[in-house]
C-alpha cells in the first residue's frame, strides 16, 4: 500500500469495519435470496451515503469531500471484498466522474449535490453489443429544434433499473467505428420513449437493457462537446477502469484470504493441504500476482489524482492485470476448496460469478492488451 494520509487510513479502516461488520457477504446473500429486482438493498445504499462515500470525488462546493480517486479506491477495495451491492460505483464514481470531466458549471450544480445525497442515481450507458466497444456506438441522436431525439439500444447498463439519469453515448454524426461524431447526453431515466428491461445476471446485481424510442432531450442535455465527445468519454472510461480495478483487487484479495485460510486448515492424508508443494507453489504464484496487480492498480489511481500524462496506459495496465489475477484467483478459490467450493451455501460461487462481470466491464483483459499495444505504438 502506497503511503496513505491519516485521513485515508481512517477512511479505509472505517470502510473495512463497516463492510465486514454491517454488510458482509451474508447481507448480499440475503439480498439475492429476497429476489430484490434492483440488485441492492436501499438500507445498504443509504448507509454508504451516510458514511460520506458518495461524496469522495465531489468537490466541497458541491457538497462532497473532494478526496479524490485513490481515496475512493480504498472504499471500492472493501466493497469488492464483501461484494457489497449498491449504486456507489455506478453513480458516485462513474456518474460523478462524467460530470467532473465534462460537465458545465450548471450541470455540476444540477447533479453533483444530488449524487452526494443519493437523490440522483446517475449511470453510464455506453455499450450496445455483447462486448465493450465504445467506438461502435450506433445509438443515434438527431437534432430536433435546439435539442435531440434519441433512437437505439444500450445494453448491460449498471444499476439501469435504479438510475434516475442515464449518461448516454450517442452518435450525432459519422458512422459506427468513427471516433468523430460521438456526443454524451444526460437523459432522465423516466423520459417518454425509454423502455428498461431488467437483466437477471450471474452476479445477481442490477443491470438493464435500455431501449430509446424517439426520446427527446433539450439542448442542455449535451455533456461536453457535441460530435467531439470521444476524447473525454475515453477519459471517463479510463477512470472507471482504474476504479473498477480497485474493486476487483478487493474481490480477488478476499478470495485469496479465503483460499489461504483453507490451505491452513483442511486436512487430508494426515496433514493440512497447504503443506503439499503443488498447492504451496500455487499460493506463492497467486500471492505474487496479487502484489504485482496491486502496484498497477495503485499506480493508475495515483496517476489520475496527479493528472499524469500516461493515464490511459496505466488504466489499461491496471484493468488487464487485475483482471488476469481475479480470473485465476476466482477459479483457484473453487478448486482449492474442492466439493464445498461448488455449493451455493458456501460463498465461493459469488466471487467467481462477480469476477467475470467485473472482468467484462469497461473492457476485458484482451481489450486492454490490444489497447495497450496500440498506445505503445505496435
Amino acid at each position: 500500500m502506497a503511503a496513505l494520509t491519516q485521513e485515508q487510513t481512517l477512511i479505509r479502516e472505517q470502510a473495512k469495519s463497516w463492510m465486514t461488520e454491517q454488510y458482509p457477504v451474508r447481507k448480499f446473500r440475503e439480498m439475492r435470496d429476497s429476489g430484490n429486482p434492483l440488485g441492492f438493498s436501499q438500507d445498504t445504499w443509504q448507509g454508504m451515503i451516510d458514511m460520506g462515500w458518495s461524496g469522495i470525488l465531489v468537490p466541497e462546493q458541491y457538497g462532497g469531500s473532494g478526496l479524490g480517486y485513490q481515496t475512493f479506491g480504498l472504499v471500492l477495495e472493501e466493497t469488492g471484498r464483501q461484494l457489497t451491492a449498491s449504486p456507489l460505483f455506478a453513480s458516485a464514481y462513474a456518474g460523478a466522474t462524467a460530470l467532473l470531466v465534462s460537465g458545465s458549471d450548471q450541470q455540476k450544480q444540477d447533479h453533483l449535490p444530488h449524487i452526494v445525497d443519493g437523490s440522483h442515481i446517475m449511470t453510464l450507458a455506453i455499450d450496445e453489443g455483447p462486448r465493450h466497444a465504445p467506438l461502435q456506438t450506433a445509438l443515434r441522436a438527431e437534432r430536433k429544434g435546439a435539442g435531440f431525439v434519441l433512437n437505439g439500444t444500450k445494453t448491460f447498463v449498471h444499476e439501469g433499473l435504479a438510475a434516475t439519469h442515464l449518461i448516454v453515448a450517442a452518435r450525432t454524426s459519422g458512422s459506427v467505428g468513427d471516433d468523430h461524431g460521438l456526443t454524451m447526453l444526460i437523459v432522465r431515466a423516466d423520459s417518454d420513449g425509454i423502455a428498461r428491461n431488467r437483466l437477471s445476471t450471474a452476479d445477481s446485481r442490477g443491470y438493464a437493457n435500455i431501449g430509446f424510442d424517439h426520446v427527446e432531450v433539450p439542448a442542455d442535455a449535451a455533456l461536453g462537446e457535441i460530435d467531439a465527445g470521444y476524447a473525454s468519454m475515453d477519459a471517463i472510461l479510463d477512470r472507471c477502469r482504474a476504479g473498477i480495478a480497485a474493486e476487483m483487487l478487493g474481490t480477488a484479495s478476499q478470495a485469496f484470504d479465503m483460499t489461504l485460510e483453507y490451505l491452513k486448515t483442511r486436512v487430508q492424508f494426515g496433514q493440512v493441504i497447504g503443506s503439499f508443494q503443488a498447492l504451496g507453489h500455487r499460493a506463492a504464484d497467486l500471492f505474487s500476482a496479487m502484489e504485482l496487480s496491486r502496484s498497477c492498480m495503485e499506480a493508475a489511481l495515483q496517476a489520475i489524482d496527479g493528472d499524469a500524462d500516461n493515464i490511459a496506459e496505466l488504466c489499461s495496465l491496471s484493468k488487464a492485470r487485475t483482471g488476469e489475477f481475479l480470473h485465476e484467483m476466482s477459479n483457484q478459490l473453487i478448486q482449492v476448496h474442492g466439493g464445498i467450493g461448488m455449493t451455493d451455501e458456501f460463498d465461493a460461487g459469488f466471487y467467481l460469478k462477480r469476477a467475470r462481470v467485473l472482468e467484462t466491464a469497461f473492457g476485458n483483459q484482451a481489450f486492454h492488451r490490444d489497447r495497450y499495444a496500440t498506445l505503445l505504438g505496435f
Partner: protein, 404 residues
C-alpha cells in the same frame, strides 16, 4: 532527506562527472567490460575512469568512507546512478570485484571485525580485488546445507579439503568466500562456517566449465590441503549458515532488477518487433499472436517495475531486507527470460546465429543473452526455491510431512 540537499548533491555529482568522466567512454560500458574480461584488465581511459571512481568512493557508493565507499545514503546513490546514466557513464567496479561489491562486501560490513573490514573492503570498493563464492558443491545445490567441504583447525591455520562447483570467476579471483564444514558431528546447518580463502596458493585448482552460451564464467574448484588464516573466519565459528543466509539475501536483492547494465541508447523491444515483423495498414504488428504476447510481456515488465518502486516507497527508512525480494526475483526472471524468447522469436532465422557473418552484433548478442539468461531461474535460489520461500516464510504454509 531534504529535497534541496539532494538537489545540491545532484549538482555536485554533475560537476564531478563533467570534469572526470572521459567522453570517449560514453555508452561503451558493455564493450569495455567485455574486453576487460577477456584481457583481464582495463586499458587507458577506462582504467583511469575506474581509478577516479575508486578515489571518490563511487565504486561502492553507500559503503562508509573509511572502507573505500563514499558514505552516500540510498537516495543519494540513486541520484548518482541517474546522473551517470544521463551522461552514458557506467560503474565498472561491481563487475571487476566479482561477488565483492554485491555480496561479500555487505556481509563483511555486517559480520566482519574492524580488522577484517579494513583489510578486505577497500580492495573490493576500488575494483582491484576480485572475489568468488564457493558455496555450491556437486551434491549440495538447492540443498546447500548438505555441503561436505571440510575445514580443520591445525593450530596456526585452517586446512581445507573438498570440491566446489559452479564457482563463478574462480579462475580470475584473488579471494574466495567459502562455506565449509567445521563440525561434522553437529546437525546439518549447525556445523558450517564462512571462511575467506586466498585463491593464489598450491592447494587450490580452478577448472573452467564451458556453458551453453559459449563462455566459461564458472569453474569446478578443488581444495586440496588449501590454507586459510585463522582470522579469516567471517562471523562466529559454526555459525556460517546465518552468515550465508544474509549473503544470499544480498544476492537476491541485487538480482531483483530485470534490466541489464546501461550501454547507451537501446532499442525498445516494440521497435525491434516493428522492424523484424512488419506492420499492417493500421500500424499494428503483422503477427497478431505475437502482438498480444508482446503486450502481455510489456505489462508484466511494467507491473514488475511498479512493484519495485512501491516496495521501495513502503520500506523507506527501514534497513531490513524486504520479504518481497523473492517475489521480485521471480518476476524479474520471468520478465527477462520472456523478453529474450520474444526477441529471438521476432528475429526468426536472424535470431539463431552463433557467430560470424550473416548476423548483426545485436542479433548474436540476443542469442547469447537468451542462453545465459536461463541461469537466472537457477542461481540465487532457483525459481522453485523462491516459491518455497514465499509459501513458507511469507504465507506461513507448513512443510509437508508426507514421505516418499
Amino acid at each position: 532527506m531534504a529535497q534541496d540537499q539532494l538537489a545540491d548533491f545532484r549538482a555536485e555529482v554533475r560537476e564531478w562527472l563533467a570534469a572526470n568522466f572521459p567522453a570517449s567512454l560514453n555508452g561503451r560500458g558493455m564493450a569495455i567490460m567485455d574486453a576487460a574480461f577477456s584481457d583481464g584488465a582495463m586499458q587507458d581511459e577506462a582504467a583511469q575512469w575506474r581509478a577516479r571512481l575508486a578515489e571518490r568512493g563511487y565504486g561502492a557508493p553507500t559503503w562508509p568512507k573509511e572502507y573505500g565507499g563514499a558514505g552516500l545514503t540510498h537516495p543519494e546513490a540513486r541520484v548518482l546512478g541517474d546522473e551517470m546514466a544521463k551522461v552514458g557513464a557506467f560503474n565498472p567496479i561491481p563487475m571487476l570485484a566479482g561477488m565483492g561489491v554485491t555480496m561479500v562486501g555487505p556481509t563483511v560490513l555486517e559480520y566482519g571485525t574492524e580488522e577484517q573490514k579494513r583489510r578486505h573492503l577497500p580492495g573490493i570498493a576500488s575494483g582491484e580485488v576480485r572475489w568468488c563464492l564457493g558455496l555450491s558443491e556437486p551434491n549440495a545445490g538447492s540443498d546447500l546445507a548438505s555441503l561436505t567441504t571440510r575445514a580443520v583447525d591445525d593450530g596456526d591455520s585452517w586446512r581445507v579439503n573438498g570440491q566446489k562447483v559452479w564457482t563463478s570467476g574462480a579462475d580470475r579471483s584473488q579471494w574466495c568466500g567459502a562455506l565449509v564444514r567445521t563440525d561434522p558431528d553437529a546437525k546439518k546447518r549447525d556445523g558450517i562456517s564462512f571462511l575467506m580463502v586466498k585463491m593464489d596458493q598450491p592447494g587450490i585448482r580452478a577448472r573452467p566449465i564451458p556453458l551453453i552460451a559459449g563462455a566459461s564464467p564458472f569453474c569446478e574448484t578443488f581444495f586440496d590441503d588449501a590454507r586459510a588464516e585463522k582470522d579469516d573466519l567471517l562471523g562466529p565459528l559454526n555459525e556460517g549458515w546465518s552468515v550465508v543466509k544474509r549473503l544470499l539475501q544480498h544476492e537476491r536483492q541485487s538480482q531483483t532488477s530485470a534490466g541489464g547494465p546501461a550501454s547507451g541508447p537501446t532499442v525498445t523491444i516494440q521497435e525491434m518487433a516493428r522492424k523484424y515483423v512488419g506492420t499492417n495498414e493500421r500500424g499494428e504488428l503483422g503477427d497478431a499472436d505475437l502482438r498480444t504476447r508482446l503486450a502481455k510481456h510489456l505489462m508484466d515488465a511494467a507491473a514488475h517495475g511498479l512493484t519495485g518502486e512501491r516496495i521501495t516507497a513502503e520500506a523507506r527508512g527501514k534497513v531490513e531486507v524486504s520479504a518481497a525480494a523473492s517475489i521480485l526475483k521471480n518476476s524479474a526472471t520471468v520478465v527477462a527470460q520472456t523478453r529474450a524468447e520474444l526477441t529471438l522469436e521476432m528475429m526468426g532465422h536472424q535470431g539463431l546465429g552463433w557467430e560470424g557473418d550473416g548476423f548483426t552484433s545485436g542479433e548474436l548478442a540476443a542469442v547469447r543473452g537468451w542462453l545465459s539468461g536461463k541461469a537466472m531461474s537457477i542461481y540465487g535460489g532457483s525459481f522453485e526455491v523462491q516459491k518455497n520461500i514465499i509459501s513458507k516464510n511469507i504465507l506461513g504454509l507448513p512443510e509437508t510431512t508426507q514421505k516418499g
